[in-house]
């Protein structure tokens, strides 16, 4: 190619490139998704029984060009769990509201077969790795839009042995046949010896050894403890030997008392 024809072609090429860029820019502006309307199936507000608030679970919605810079910066800043700012004020007073409590228990019921069952996973997962589970659920977090519950039990390898997805990504999660099982309901409160006494723990603590995972800062409103700053829960709240399956004899044993002459 001669120099002349090259210099003739260059403005043409430049014109084509610029016009394509401009056309792309305006096309991008038409995209319906905005950064601010990013919603995810995990938001507490959106949580439904069978979560399908986004048409395809697991797909991250596209951002339009004018928001691109802000969104990328935001995403990078919030990429680490530790830097997520919790919106919970640790010193705020917590009042127990029976309505909220029932709502919380109702929400819990949605992904458990019965009280004490391992919850099903409401979001897509990596089918093979469970290091990816621990990345979020080892610590847990609560932000304005996201509630990541902390594991209520100590770290156990192989999460997927007990926790399965309730809507897998490779095909829609459907029940094959109807089932009439009604599971054990969660207790609404523990028994107290007298008004004002600390309630006894009305559930087993097996697999629920970290009280704060449900009753602490990442817990649902309604079942949060009124006193999260106290960290030694079992100092006041007695567990149930029966429900915890401890191998104690049925009846506490005593020495025989004095034999009184009649």
């Amino acid at each position: 190619m001669t120099r002349d024809s090259t210099s003739n072609a260059t403005p043409l090429i430049a014109f084509v490139v610029v016009s394509v860029a401009v056309a792309g820019y305006f096309t991008g502006l038409q995209a319906p998704m905005k950064a601010s309307s990013l919603s995810s199936p995990l938001t507490a507000a959106n949580r439904q029984t069978r979560s399908t608030t986004t048409p395809e679970a697991g797909v991250v919605l596209a951002t339009d060009y004018k928001d691109m810079a802000d969104v990328t910066l935001a995403r990078r800043q919030h990429a680490r769990l530790a830097s997520l700012k919790s919106t919970t004020d640790p010193l705020a007073e917590i009042r127990i509201d029976p309505e909220e409590k029932l709502m919380a228990l109702h929400q819990r019921e949605q992904n458990r077969a019965f009280n004490g069952a391992p919850p099903t996973i409401p979001h897509p997962i990596d089918q093979r790795s469970d290091a990816s589970c621990a990345a979020c659920h080892k610590e847990g977090a609560m932000t304005k839009t996201l509630r990541i519950p902390r594991m209520s039990h100590e770290f156990l390898t192989h999460c997927m042995q007990c926790h399965v997805e309730n809507n897998p990504r490779h095909m829609p999660g459907t029940a094959f046949r109807e089932n009439e099982f009604t599971g054990l309901e969660a207790p609404t409160a523990g028994p107290r010896a007298f008004p004002g006494a600390p309630p006894q723990i009305p559930h087993s603590t097996w697999m629920r050894s970290d009280c704060m995972s449900c009753h602490g800062y990442e817990g649902r409103h309604g079942i949060r403890t009124t006193h999260p700053l106290r960290s030694n829960c079992q100092q006041c709240h007695a567990p149930s030997a029966t429900m915890d399956q401890t191998l104690l004899t049925g009846e506490p044993q005593f020495l025989p008392g004095p034999e009184i002459r009649k």
Binding site: G116, L156, V164, L184, E251
Partner: protein
């Protein structure tokens, strides 16, 4: 052990008093001061009774605590006092309670009329079965199950072999454990593992030979990997034909072609000898060598010398093993080093990869041989451990002997002395037991699907607790003809006792609704020789009744009609059960079935059989108290003590002092185990130009076997709704396939249209595809082949050749 977890009456009263006074006080306070209490306390988990039971599902045998409220199961918890699982369960175990409550539970006996069914009474059902048996008792067959409880197996076994003199009784475990059994017999002279799950708690190396315990025996697998997360150093090695969830937890992944395991095992033995790292002392003290006898193939083979053994292994250099198996020579050398290290404690695990194999007996023998050759045997942590898939394949099938050639307690019908012992224990006339083995599973169904005038001499099959219409290989030959009007099988009759409609009830002539799991008493035996018991906790729905009762009811109907086979030596009914006052109870009448514990009666009768092969069982009452006991359970100083490690001095009470290790059932009668040589042989079907893919089948975590129970549990069904074919991404690209596309898979035997999941949960290599078999609408066994291992008669579900065609939407 205290199994009583119910609150005592006086405790309850005390609690109620406190509650009442609290409520009164609260009312007073609330009224007086305006102090708002939260929702008034109810009795925590009011009225829930917790009882123990083994889980209904796999062969691990986890113990659960079942919560029953108002006559229904409402919750399940792991049993913290169980040694098997220590309070842990898997997702199936947690949801096992829901298995009872699928809406389409069978509740009434159904008799086929044309294309539909008519509800009939139990009397009519029992009479129908008795009619068929009476008309042609030698053409009747019983297809049983590794999910049979031990008493159910005892009843069927005695009914057939000790009653009708008919040996056509075979279980579905023929399709899963038969090669493991023949491997044990060929090596040790007696069946079942020497080690137990305690090995998992101390091993340094865990080798998976073609199984996927992360999904199939999750509680056992996490028992090992939890140790690692606590800081212990354990090496996990996965020898497999595709990547699975297990692979992700392993340090070494050895990807092999089908039958590569034969080459690998020989390769390890070759290296042990070449490097001089085999355990000379162990071999010289406790082992002999065997090779197959091609003139007269059997489990004894022909004895060979060590020099012969070494010569046979010459060709299996790491490079040659690489050619045969596809595993790089370096990794074979790594395995040779691992086994050559006497300091390491090595446990090998296997399940269907080695058993569903046309050379299954061979590979089982070879893996035992590698452990024996290297001396990794007999101490805690050193164990070749075969795992079972069903909850009682060991307890019922292998120990009660519900196989076409076997009698209870490790005996065989072909042996006159064994027959005489069985006849004595069962109190039946001498000569009652038929010495000719009956038909094994594949032969039984082949015969059933062959017209009578063409030699199909099985006319009636009674199926209990299993789903052959989905799980038999090559269904178009072994099952589907039953539903074909032109197949000439109009005179064949299929009876199915089950809990839900399945692929089998689809072609049944008589469907019997059955009780399941905690709707009946039961005793089962898991993979580590642990026999476990439970009591009935809830009632079965509708008219569903125990399988054991069904067998006894049919037996009694025949007894009333004068069938001699139903009388014992004294002319009394074969299944006469007496109460504590020594009066017979009419257990064939359903209203009286639970007047006594029939399970206990059958179990105590069966216990006597177990002494011969030193698989001693304790009295039934001991199992009520315990979370299972591992046999041999021997009474020492008034206590019943279980055995952790067989054949090892100090652990096994039957090992003589000073012997160290004693294989007291040695097939060569010299207390030695047999190390076998078997050559590598190609699979029965390999991919070729017409059918270029190798099809492997198997399971997934969420669904247990044919899914008839787990697919009706919403949490499990939603997690894994349906079947699919796993395929490598590049293979998919070559066919233009995307995730979810439907493909037609064809083999020489059948075809299937199925959706694709690229690099699904498992990652198959190029040229291999994988289809799980839990989906009854996607019957992968239309494609599989029915070639069997020559000794165990177990088919190979892991290697069939298929081709793929994209289905245009």
């Amino acid at each position: 052990m205290n199994g009583d977890l119910q609150p005592r009456p006086d405790t309850v009263q005390r609690r109620q008093f406190i509650k009442a006074s609290a409520m009164a006080a609260a009312a007073a306070v609330a009224g007086g001061t305006g102090f708002l209490l939260p929702i008034l306390a109810t009795e925590p988990a009011a009225g829930v009774q917790w009882e123990k039971a083994p889980c209904r599902f796999c062969g691990t045998g986890c113990h659960v605590q079942v919560g029953v409220q108002d006559g229904k199961v409402v919750a399940v918890a792991g049993d913290r006092n169980a040694e098997v699982n220590k309070g842990l369960l898997c997702v199936k175990g947690y949801h096992v309670g829901s298995a009872l409550y699928g809406k389409d539970r069978l509740t009434k006996p159904l008799l086929r009329e044309g294309a539909q069914y008519r509800e009939i009474s139990w009397e009519e059902a029992i009479k129908t079965i008795a009619d068929r048996i009476e008309a042609a008792p030698e053409r009747f067959a019983f297809y049983g199950s590794g999910q049979w409880t031990i008493p159910e197996g005892c009843a069927a076994q005695k009914f057939m072999k000790g009653g009708l003199s008919n040996n056509h009784i075979d279980p579905n475990a023929r399709l899963c454990m038969a090669s493991a059994v023949t491997g044990f017999l060929a090596t040790y002279g007696v069946d079942e593992p020497a080690g137990c799950y305690d090995d998992l708690d101390v091993c340094d190396v865990l080798i998976m030979w073609g199984n996927n315990p992360a999904e199939m025996h999750p509680v056992l697998f996490s028992r090992v990997i939890d140790r690692r997360s606590r800081g212990e150093k354990i090496t996990l090695i996965d020898i497999s034909t595709r990547r699975t969830r297990t692979t992700e937890a392993c340090q070494h992944y050895l990807e092999m072609k089908g039958h590569g395991d034969l080459a690998i095992a020989n390769g390890i033995a070759h290296l042990l000898i070449r490097n001089g790292t085999y355990n000379r002392k162990f071999v010289e003290s406790f082992c002999s060598f065997k090779a197959p006898d091609d003139q007269n193939p059997n489990l004894h083979g022909k004895p060979i010398s060590f020099a012969d053994y070494q010569t046979f292994l010459e060709p299996y250099t790491p490079e040659h093993v690489e050619e045969l198996s596809g595993v790089p020579a370096d990794q074979i050398r790594m395995l040779g080093d691992v086994f050559g290290n006497p300091e390491l404690k090595i446990t090998s695990l296997w399940c269907m990869g080695m058993n569903q194999h046309t050379r299954g007996t061979a590979i089982n023998s070879l893996v035992h041989g590698v452990h024996l050759l290297s001396g990794h045997f007999g101490t805690p942590g050193n164990a070749p451990t075969s795992l079972t898939g069903q909850p009682s394949a060991c307890g019922t099938v292998r120990e009660v002997g519900t196989l076409s050639h076997a009698l209870p307690g490790g005996r065989v019908v072909a042996d006159a002395e064994h027959r005489q012992q069985a006849e004595d224990f069962w109190n039946v006339p001498a000569g009652r037991i038929n010495p000719t083995p009956g038909y094994h599973t594949v032969k039984m169904w082949e015969s059933f699907c062959t017209p009578t005038d063409k030699g199909g001499d099985i006319g009636t099959i009674w199926v209990q607790v299993t789903n052959p219409g989905q799980t038999l290989p090559n269904l178009n030959k072994l099952f589907n003809p039953k539903g074909d009007n032109k197949a000439g099988l109009e005179d064949k009759f299929l009876i199915v006792s089950d809990v839900y409609p399945t692929a089998t009830t689809r072609l049944a002539d008589l469907i019997l609704p059955s009780a399941m799991w905690v709707e009946k008493n039961g005793v089962v035996g898991n993979s580590e020789r642990r026999t476990q018991q439970w009591f009935k906790m809830v009632d079965p729905p509708g008219d569903a009744r125990d399988d054991c009762w069904q067998t006894i009811a049919v037996a009694h109907e025949l007894f009333k009609r004068g069938t001699d086979g139903m009388k014992d030596r004294d002319g009394r009914f074969l299944f006469e059960v007496k109460d504590n006052d020594n009066k017979p109870v009419p257990v064939w009448e359903w209203e009286h079935y639970y007047d006594v514990n029939v399970d206990e009666h059958l179990f105590e009768e069966y216990r006597q059989f177990t002494r011969l092969k030193h698989k001693d069982l304790a009295p039934y009452s001991e199992y009520v108290k315990a979370r299972g006991l591992r046999w041999p359970v021997v009474e020492t100083d008034g206590q019943w003590k279980e055995t952790h490690f067989r054949f090892s001095e100090g652990f096994d009470p039957y090992v003589e002092e000073g012997t160290g290790i004693q294989f007291y059932h040695s097939s060569t009668h010299n207390d030695r185990a047999q190390i076998w040589f078997h050559p590598w042989i190609a699979p029965a079907e390999v991919p070729d130009d017409d059918y270029p893919f190798m099809l492997c089948t198997g399971r997934v975590l969420e669904h247990w076997h044919s899914g008839s129970m787990t697919r009706r549990i919403p949490e499990l069904s939603r997690a894994m709704p349906g079947g699919y074919v796993e395929i490598h991404a590049e293979d998919a690209a070559a066919y233009g396939l995307r995730n979810g596309d439907k493909v037609k898979m064809e083999s020489r035997r059948g075809a299937l249209v199925i959706p694709v999941w690229i690099d699904g949960r498992g990652k198959p290599p190029r040229g291999t595809v994988f289809i799980p078999f839990f989906d009854e609408t996607l019957l992968v066994n239309d494609l599989t082949l029915d070639a069997v291992d020559p000794f165990s008669k177990q088919p190979d579900y892991k290697k069939s050749a298929v081709r793929i065609r994209k289905v245009q939407p």
